[in-house]
Each structure stands twice: as C-alpha cells, then as structure tokens.
Amino acid sequence: MDAAFHVQKLNVFYGKKQALRDVNMEIPAKAVTAVIGPSGCGKSTFVRCLNRMNDLVPGFRVEGSILYQGKDIYSRGMDVIDVRRKIGMVFQKPNPFPKSIYENIAYGLRIQGVKNKEKIDTVVEESLKKAAIWEEVKDRLPQSALSLSGGQQQRLCIARALAVAPEVLLLDEPTSAIDPIATGRIEELLRELKESYTIVIVTHNMQQAARISDITGFFLMGELVEFDPTSRMFTNPKDSRTEDYITGRFG
C-alpha cells in the first residue's frame, strides 16, 4: 500500500499542554485507517492536524512534520485553504448548513467561484450518489437539509465533503450521534468509498474500528502505542497496553 500521509515525530501542544507526543505513522492511501483510544488521548487532535483544522484553536502549536503526498502540509508555502479542500472532513455531529440540500452540496463549489449552473448540478448529483443518499433526496433537493434524519444528514455531510473532490476523508466519530441502523449504512458507505479515497476515521467504538478499518492506530495519552493491521490488532496485538484496551481491561 502506498502511504498517503507520512507523519513524522509529530508533537502537538495546546498552550503548555502537550496533546500528542512523537507520533510516527504512515497512513496508507485508498484504505480505511481507524484511530482508537480512550477519551482525551488525542485522537481528534491527531486527525484535525491532518487537514490543519486545528489552526483555528488558540494556543495550538505543532512540531515535526506531516507529509501529504510528500509535501509537509505545515510548511510555509502550503496554502491552508487548499489543504482543507484536498483533505475533507466530516464531524461527530451531523452539521448540515441550514440551507437546502442542494445548496449544502453546492456551497463548496460556490466558494471556489464556480458559477456554471450545469456543472454544479452535475457535481451535486454525483456527490449525492457517491454518498449513497441520492435516491432518498433526489426529489427534495430544494428542501431544507435540516428536514433530513440524523443518519441522512451525516451522509449529506459526507456528500458535501466529496463535492469539492477531496482525496482524503477525515471523519471524527462520524456515527456517535447516530442510531445503529444509520451507522450501519455509513459504515457500508465508507467501505465503498475507500476504493477511491483515503479514509481516516476516529472512533470511540472499537467494534466499529474492527468492522470497517484495514489498519488501526491505538493512542494512549498522546502517544501512538500501536499501529497495526486491524485483524492483527484485534486478535493478537503486540503491545500489552493495546491488549488491555481491546479486551476492556483498561483503566
């Protein structure tokens, strides 16, 4: 597997507090990488570093490097806006814009200055199809996105992220606010999307990591304890701390 990200000696601080310590990781392209670990271990911090979402947090500071396709996304020349466009993100709670379904998807194009209505139409349809929600919404594109159910909203958010043609999809506990059936559908979707996208998913739910990921990283107190193929991680982890966590003996 090719690596999409090379994370090297990543250290992250919020003010004086260190949130990540010497993280090294090679995130494979076109695969699902899961990030697990107890609350506060730095999972969100980690994925949010991958598209510089954390830049917005006051006091945030990063050391080390994150190479995406060989280029350090934190280097001077890098355009944050561009990084974020290439590396899309989906959040814990579905957060559709309070606009129509159509406008939610179109937004990403509009801010890039795309005006051509036909082009936008095409992208809207394609993105919704990719996110496996087209059938459910195609007759109600002008309706408010808030009228959708939680699970639909989350798929809409995925479609919205796909609309700007990203290469990577970061997901921070995308199903923790969603009922089990909708969760199943999103897991299915992610599995399909990995054919074309590099996916990194943070999850509190170990079973979810087990079900959908190819490779899993286990964080503990800001450290990457183990980074292994998921099936190995769950049957025969290398590190005893991983073993303890996986078998529920942690803490």
Binding site: L56, P58, R84, R85, G88, F91, Y107, V164
Partner: protein
C-alpha cells in the same frame, strides 16, 4: 436502613400538606398570570373607549391645533416615520457589524470582555440618559440642532445595544460545527461568515431589530430631552421629489415632532378634550407597536421551530 419506619410515619402528614399546597399554588399561579393580562385588557378597553370617537381620516391629516377638535397627528406620524427609517439605517448595520466582530473575530481579551460588559450595561441605561447624551453630543456638540437627524441618531444609539445583543445571540446560536464544516471545505473566514453565519443568523437579527424599532417608536423621554418640539405645524422636507434635484437631504435637519411626544403633550393638558385626542393618538401608536411586535413574535416563533441544531 434503620430510620426508615420513623420516616414513614412523618411522611403521611407531610404528604397531605404537600398535596394541598400544590393545589393551592396552581390556582394562585393562574391568578397571577391573568392579573397582567387583565390589566392589559382594561387599558386597551379604556383607551379605546376614550379615543375611538376622535379617530378618523382628518385626525391623520391635520396638524396639531389649539382647538382639540381640529387637532391632528400629521406632523407627528410623519416625524415618527422619518425617525424610524433613519434609526434603522443607522442602528442595523452598526449593530450587526459590531455583533459580528465580537462573536467571530474578537479573541478573548480584556478589550472584548470590556466591550461585552459595556454593551450589557448600555442596554440597561435609562432612556432619558440617552436623551442627555443626544442633547450634549448631537444637539449641542455636533450642532445638529433639534433636528430629525439628531433625534434619529439618539434613538439609534439607544437601540443599538438591543440590536447588538439580539444579533450576538443569534450569531452565537449558530453552532461551531457549521463554521468547521465550512472551513473544512476550504472556505476562508470571511466566506464562512458571509455565506453561512450571517444568513443563518439573519432571522434572529431581524427579529431583534424589529423589536428594537418597536421600542424606539414609543420612546418619548429622550426626544423630549433633546428638545423635540411638542407643537409642530409642518412636516420635514420629503427626502425625494419629482423636481430636480430630486434628493433633498435638508429634510434631515428640519425640526420635528413624533407620535409619543404629541400624545404626551395632549395628556399633559388639563382639558378633557385633549385627553380624548391623546387616547386616539395612543390607539395609533399601539397599533403600530403591536403590529411590529406581532411580526417579531411570528418570525421568532417560525424560526425557532424550524431550526433545531
């Protein structure tokens, strides 16, 4: 648990009293709630009975007069209209801009903290103080005289905190997740504010602004303080006309009166006939106020229902 038996014994009495108190309170509460509404009703009926006879077309089209039966509110309502338009034009952009800064840009610092307390305080400063400010600053300081502009500026400053607070509430109610979503798509900060935050917050902002205007429309004291005339037999120059130069800013500097002032003027007179005029004026004033409030309540209701984050 050892003491459980004794606890039981104590309970039964206690329980009966509890029940009774509960029942009693539900009656008392209903009564307390209706008191206010009853008074409101009485007030409306009283005003209506007093003022109804005087209402009519000429009441709206006549200037005030020393003869009560000839006196009308033309100059008053035109003045009020002028004031409202100008006030809104000043207060709305400033209020929204200020709210946007404080919510979106203002890093937590002593300055923003200070601005925040300051605005909260301004919202509670008695309106008459604003009158004094208007008097000292606009009428005398900037030498605007007792003009429509000075009045509108005073009222705008008076309602500015209301607009800012409502706008801030509304902007704050937009969850951070919406902003993050926008950033994650590669939007810049201003794009995010312009395309997501402000449109989403607009219903709330408008509601707040309308409420602020309905407050402004009834304000009497500050206008009196800056010296709005209580007896005006002309209307300010209309801002536009069909003849060149079409636009007449000089209207801004004309003297003016306003509805509540007219009402106050009439109330203050001992003659019964003027009280009738006052009541009639009040009816007009109340209608405008109620309509504005109605719109605001409707807006708020509608959007509160629709948007659940």
């Amino acid at each position: 648990m050892n003491g459980q038996e004794t606890i039981r014994v104590e309970i039964s009495d206690h329980k009966r009293i509890g029940r009774l108190a509960d029942r009693a309170f539900s009656i008392l509460g209903l009564f307390a709630t209706t008191v206010g509404l009853a008074v409101l009703l009485v007030l409306l009926i009283d005003v209506f009975i007093d003022g109804y006879p005087r209402l009519g077309w000429d009441f709206l089209t006549q200037y005030p007069s020393r003869k009560p039966e000839n006196a009308g509110i033309l100059s008053a309502w035109v003045g009020t209209a002028w004031l409202m338009v100008l006030t809104a034009l000043i207060a709305f952009p400033l209020g929204v801009a200020s709210a946007t800064y404080l919510e979106e840009y203002g890093r937590k610092s002593w300055l923003t903290g200070f601005i925040e307390i300051n605005i909260a305080n301004l919202a509670g400063v008695p309106s008459i103080i604003y009158g004094l400010l208007g008097l000292g600053l606009f009428v005398r300081g900037l030498n605007l005289g007792r003009s429509v502009l000075a009045g509108a500026a005073t009222l705008a400053i008076l309602v500015l905190p209301i607009v800012i607070l409502a706008s801030r509430e509304s902007i704050r109610a937009i969850p951070a997740s919406i902003r993050e979503a926008s950033y994650a798509l590669g939007a810049s900060k201003w794009q995010t504010i312009r395309h997501q935050v402000l449109p989403a917050a607009m219903p709330g902002i408008l509601t707040g602004t309308i409420l602020a205007m309905s407050r402004a429309i009834g304000e009497t004291a500050p206008l009196i303080t800056i010296g709005a005339l209580t007896y005006v037999a002309f209307v300010p120059t209309p801002p536009v006309s069909l003849e060149p130069p079409f636009i007449h800013p000089q209207g801004l500097f004309d003297a003016f009166t306003a509805l509540p002032i007219q009402v106050f003027n009439w109330v203050s007179r001992p003659q019964k006939a003027f009280s009738i005029n006052a009541a009639a004026g009040i009816i007009i004033l109340l209608i405008i106020t109620f309509v504005m409030n109605g719109i605001a309540v409707y807006l708020r209701h509608r959007y509160q229902k629709k948007i659940r984050w």
